[in-house]
């Protein structure tokens, strides 16, 4: 029997493999990864600098140990070049590997900012453990770090870097941080807390150029301001990795489109994690990934199981001002009711008839997230 093949050894690929092994200990399993196949958890990369952690300390088992644990073959440093759903093969370095079922757990690429300047190429991003190792090495001894993007990852890194003793500037196009997730009052609480921690905000502006300066770099903004920096980190968003699927004729939109069985438009080919668009939802967070892994493992083990998404609050790991947010779908009718207390903001999005539809909690108020999440409707019941 041909093996089940998983492409990708991030949290998605390995979690799926682990869930599958709970249900089926013996089905042949091959995991193909472009990197070294070490286990690590990506969400921890944006809170590890303050703890002084090296990439090696963040990594769990190495590829051979993962292979043994999962009773799988793990092909490292192997980039899949092509998928052929018609013959059920993938091509890796001139070798064809046949599959019975194929899972794309490819992840997402960080978006690159559009910059001019002779140092535009030195702008870094941290999207995997190797990036983290490189970034950590680069900022050793560097005082001033400029972050492009004040979204979830940008704010987490800003907090982490300032805790680690760096001087941080954040450039963000909107007038307050995390504007895609939070109502203004909650975002301002985070903004204040990070300012207090020493972060300098450049809101309503974008970076246009990065140039070498006498010492370090000069980051030029669209209003002419130049920020002096020793390193520049871009955190302006993620783009699901779709080209491999696209080239195979698999339907993609923002992500690789899958139904609630996580099956793509090609029979026997599935997608999950940050590369997947599940029934229209692209949710690059851990809770949805876990829900996907459990459902898909059951499907692969022979019991077709649709993924269920309960209400899944997103946690922003900014210790200066912890945040929990249950996002509100665009265009949904209702009103934000904001109450601010000394230890945080509690913003509830409510509709007279439908009740609680979303929330944003900051500081100590974030502790209510479980209780409030229970009142929300499931995203995919």
């Amino acid at each position: 029997m041909e093996p089940i093949v998983i492409i990708g050894s991030g949290l998605a690929g390995y979690t799926l493999a682990r869930e599958l092994r709970k249900l089926d200990k013996n089905v042949p399993l091959v995991i193909i990864t472009a990197d070294d196949g070490r286990f690590y958890s990506k969400p921890l990369l944006s809170t590890a600098l303050a703890q002084g952690k090296t990439a090696d300390q963040l990594a769990g088992a190495l590829a051979p140990a993962m292979a043994e644990q999962l009773n799988a073959e793990v092909l490292v440093y192997s980039r899949v070049e092509e998928i052929d759903p018609a013959t059920c093969n993938v091509r890796v370095a001139q070798r064809l590997i046949a599959y019975s079922k194929l899972v794309l757990a490819l992840g997402a690429d960080p978006m690159r900012p559009q910059l001019t300047g002779d140092a535009a190429e030195s702008v870094m991003s941290v999207n995997d453990l190797t990036d983290y190792a490189r970034f950590r090495e680069r900022i050793t001894g560097a005082q001033r770090i400029t972050i492009l993007g004040g979204g979830l990852i940008g704010c987490e890194f800003a907090n982490d870097l300032s805790l680690a003793g760096h001087q941080v500037d954040i450039v963000h196009p909107a007038l307050y941080p995390l504007d895609r997730l939070l109502p203004e009052a909650a975002a301002q609480d985070l903004q204040r807390a990070l300012s207090k921690a020493g972060v300098t905000w450049h809101l309503g502006r974008t970076a246009t150029a990065v140039n070498h300066a006498a010492a370090g770099y000069g980051v030029t903004l669209n209003d002419g301001t130049v920020i002096a920096a020793d390193a520049v980190l871009a955190a302006i968003g993620l783009r699901p990795r779709v080209p491999l699927a696209q080239a195979a004729g698999i339907r993609t939109s923002r992500g690789i489109q899958v139904n609630r069985l996580l099956e793509t438009s090609a029979a026997g080919v599935y997608a999950m994690g940050d590369c997947a668009e599940v029934a229209g939802h692209v949710l690059p967070y851990v809770l949805p990934l876990m829900a996907q892994a459990r459902a898909l493992a059951a499907t692969l083990a022979g019991a077709p199981t649709e993924v269920i998404y309960p209400a899944m609050p997103v946690i922003v790991k900014t210790p200066a001002c912890p945040i929990a947010v249950a996002t509100v779908a665009e265009g949904l009718a209702g009103n934000w009711q904001v109450s601010c207390v000394e230890d945080g903001v509690c913003a509830l999005f409510q509709d007279e008839k439908k009740g609680l539809l979303g929330f944003a909690l900051t500081g100590k108020q974030a502790g209510q997230r479980q209780a409030l999440a229970k009142q929300l409707q499931a995203l995919l019941p």
Partner: protein
């Protein structure tokens, strides 16, 4: 009493504080939390990961 952190998402479980909103009373030791418990922030089952002591 110890403090534990989830190896996947960084969630902190403080034995001293417990998780009263989940019915885990203050002072509950990690080893006494039921095996079907999952990390409230990332959904990883207790059986699946090592909570590591901080």
């Amino acid at each position: 009493m110890q403090v534990w952190t989830c190896v996947v998402c960084g969630f902190i479980y403080d034995e001293m504080a417990g998780l009263p909103e989940e019915g885990i009373v203050a002072g509950t030791r990690w080893q006494d939390i039921p095996d079907d418990w999952a990390c409230p922030d990332c959904g990883v089952a207790k059986a699946d990961f090592e909570m590591v002591a901080v």
